[in-house]
Amino acid sequence: MIYLTLFYEFFKIGLFAIGGGMATIPFLIDLSAKYGWYTTSEFANMVAISQSTPGPVGINMATYAGFQAAGIPGALIATFALVLPALVIIMLIAKFMQNFSDNPIVKAIFDGIRPTVAALILYAVLELSKISLLITTDSGYRPDFTSITICIILFILMEIPRLKKLHPLIWIAAGAVIGIVFKL
């Protein structure tokens, strides 16, 4: 029963992805490996589309992933399952502990989780690099130097202070133009 599976998996993501939309990416990548609802390269496209369309990125990605898995009902179920844990948790916090983020234990938990979220997103980048920066061969992977060079140049540009505030849309558009020009 795909709807139940979707609900269960996205509820889990909603519960364990802490720190916003980007934190859901490693979980969504693992889903593609586990169920094959979408390929890794489809997933990378989904991330780009989710960042360039209206709405919170995390919700856009969940809706997209759910749609790929099981059409419109899948999109609805994935999105509602994703927000459900937070809905309950936030209401409990609003009712019982309004100074939640000042609580020392909460701070301690979060101090532990923050470096981990960064690591898990790097893990997701490594997974994504298999389809965007490496070429699959019979014996494994070999680097695609054109793609790697483009990625490094884009990354360095992003770290230039004056370009830091550019909207993600600009980078995605740049990626599209580069892809068309270099026939990637």
Binding site: A48, I49, L122
Partner: protein, 184 residues
């Protein structure tokens, strides 16, 4: 009834004007909930946003749930959440359905190959940002590499890694407190 409609419409507008996620929503949020409806003041808004950052789920949605709950209880929180996710559901389902029919177009395929490289670079940028904000001491470095190794080379499920990291954070906090207590 009017209040519930206002909550839905207000967070629908916030959702639709948040492109790219994260801090992008704050100016729009302020305009709606502080300037227009006076549901909360700016300081409360930043507190709620901070709570949304250290709770599970999508930050923008958590903020919507919280403010909705303050205004209209459980129903208010649910309606505000629905308002926040509605634009995503509509827009992503439309885009996903349309894109499905054009995904064999050569130009589009090149564009997306380039976009996937940009996505890798953007995610690396996110990792760097999160390291700067979240990895502050030796423990943070250990947690970062520990999580990266567990995620990349072992079958340990991601939720388990997150729980372990939170537990390490609490244990470190207790040890620090004990040490501090003995010194004083």
């Amino acid at each position: 009834m009017k209040k519930l409609w206002e909550l839905y419409a207000s967070f629908f507008r916030i959702g639709i004007l948040t492109i790219g996620g994260g801090l992008a929503m704050l100016p729009m949020l302020k305009r709606e909930v502080v300037d227009k409806y006076h549901w909360i003041n700016e300081e409360e808004m930043m507190d709620i946003y901070a709570i949304g950052q250290c709770t599970p789920g999508i930050i923008a949605v958590n903020t919507a749930t919280y403010i909705g709950y303050l205004q209209g209880g459980i129903l208010g929180g649910t309606i505000a959440t629905l308002g926040e996710v509605s634009p995503s559901l509509i827009i992503i389902i439309l885009i996903a359905s349309v894109l499905r029919q054009y995904m064999d177009n050569a130009v589009l395929l090149h564009a997306f190959a380039g976009i996937r490289i940009a996505v890798c670079a953007m995610m690396l940028d996110t990792v760097l940002l999160m390291i700067r904000k979240g990895v502050k001491n030796v423990l943070g470095v250990l947690l970062f590499f520990g999580a990266l190794i567990l995620a990349t080379f072992t079958p340990v499920p991601l939720p388990v890694i997150v729980i372990l990291a939170g537990a390490v954070g609490v244990i470190a906090f207790r040890l620090r407190k004990k040490e501090g207590g003995m010194k004083s």
